[in-house]
Amino acid sequence: MNEEKKPKPLPPSLRGRRRYIAYQVLSEDKFILQDLINSIWHSLLNLLGELGASQADIWIVKDTWDEKKQIGIIRCSHDNVEQVRTSLALIERIGDVRVIVKVLGISGSIKATKMKFFTETKLTEFTQTL
């Protein structure tokens, strides 16, 4: 049994409230994911500073990056959605490639974000199948 020991998950009342921002990158050329992550962090730290970025509780969900559609998800605290949105708008380049990071929408869970913005399936259809 070499399972990594983890702390027990907190009860929902003690967990921070989070939002998941689905974004799309419109670019003039191709870029790599690591450059995008660096640009997002650079913009966040420039606008919010280290303290602001820590309070915003940022997590760039790498697994959800869709290379074909250039769509991804960022998690942040529910108090800092507008600031994170502004930081994304202030990304002008990824490496040497000119880009626009467009927010597609915001949701309360990764699952709902994926349903709304990553697939053609509508959320109402999903709930009907349950």
Partner: protein, 237 residues
């Protein structure tokens, strides 16, 4: 909700993209209308702009002029020449005397970036009272924020936040524009709302600065150009 961007620049005055490309991209980003406001370079260029603008049918495209004047006399001279010909008239601020006289002139639609290259916010109590009375909107330029970094950006954000607070206090209309010189300088309108909200403006007023206020400006000017609006409060129905 109808979003407008009242200041984009085409390749007719130093911009990178044609009016068709700007209009197509603006539609993709969720705008219902844009105003192509090229820097004033004479009446011939203006008529060329108006001709190109009239060809676009997919979204509402308005013709406008951005006046970059050295002094107040030059500004007034250009306003006299172009006011009856354009849908949107913008004065680039920065110099205090230009800021003040633009606020005093009801023919001006938007005083853009009054804080440009200044150690202060560029607006004071008399200017804002005059702007409110004459219905001159204070423009926030996204380009200035996007293409400045670190210390200059911090100053611009500080002065913009100060101007937003003052405009809120004096009930002066606020308009946010991309001031884009290429499609890569444009952003989705909801991102502009987020920026204003992050700078301390109430979310409802932030939405108004990208929707109802620019819409009112273009609609009023359209009526004046068509001749249905005779004077303030008097319209032909």
């Amino acid at each position: 909700m109808k979003f407008y961007d009242l200041f984009v620049q085409s390749n007719l005055s130093g911009g990178e993209n044609s009016i068709e490309q700007l209009a197509e991209f603006a539609q993709k980003l969720g705008y219902v209308g844009i105003a192509v406001c090229d820097n004033y370079q004479g009446l011939e260029k203006l008529s060329e702009l108006k001709e190109n603008v009239s060809k676009i049918k997919d979204i509402e495209v308005y013709s406008g002029v951005n006046i970059i004047a050295k002094d107040v006399n030059e500004m007034k001279e250009i306003i006299n020449k172009v006011r009856e010909k354009v849908d949107v008239l913008i004065v680039s601020g920065g110099d205090y005397s230009i800021n003040r006289s633009a606020c005093d002139d009801s023919r001006v639609d938007i005083l853009m970036h009054p804080e440009l290259e200044r150690p202060d916010s560029g607006l004071d109590e008399p200017s804002l009272e005059a702007a409110t009375q004459n219905n001159v909107a204070i423009g926030i330029s996204f380009r200035e924020i996007l293409f400045n970094f670190r210390k200059p950006r911090a100053y611009i954000l500080n002065h913009t936040a100060k101007n937003l607070m003052l405009c809120n206090h004096f009930r002066t209309p606020i308009v946010i524009c991309s001031c884009a010189q290429s499609i890569w300088g444009m952003r989705s309108p909801r991102e502009f709302v987020a920026l204003l909200n992050s700078l301390g403006l109430d979310i409802g007023k932030a939405f108004a600065s990208a929707t109802s206020i620019p819409q009112t400006i273009v609609e009023q000017n359209k009526k004046t150009l068509e001749g249905t609006k005779i004077s303030e409060g008097v319209e032909e129905i």
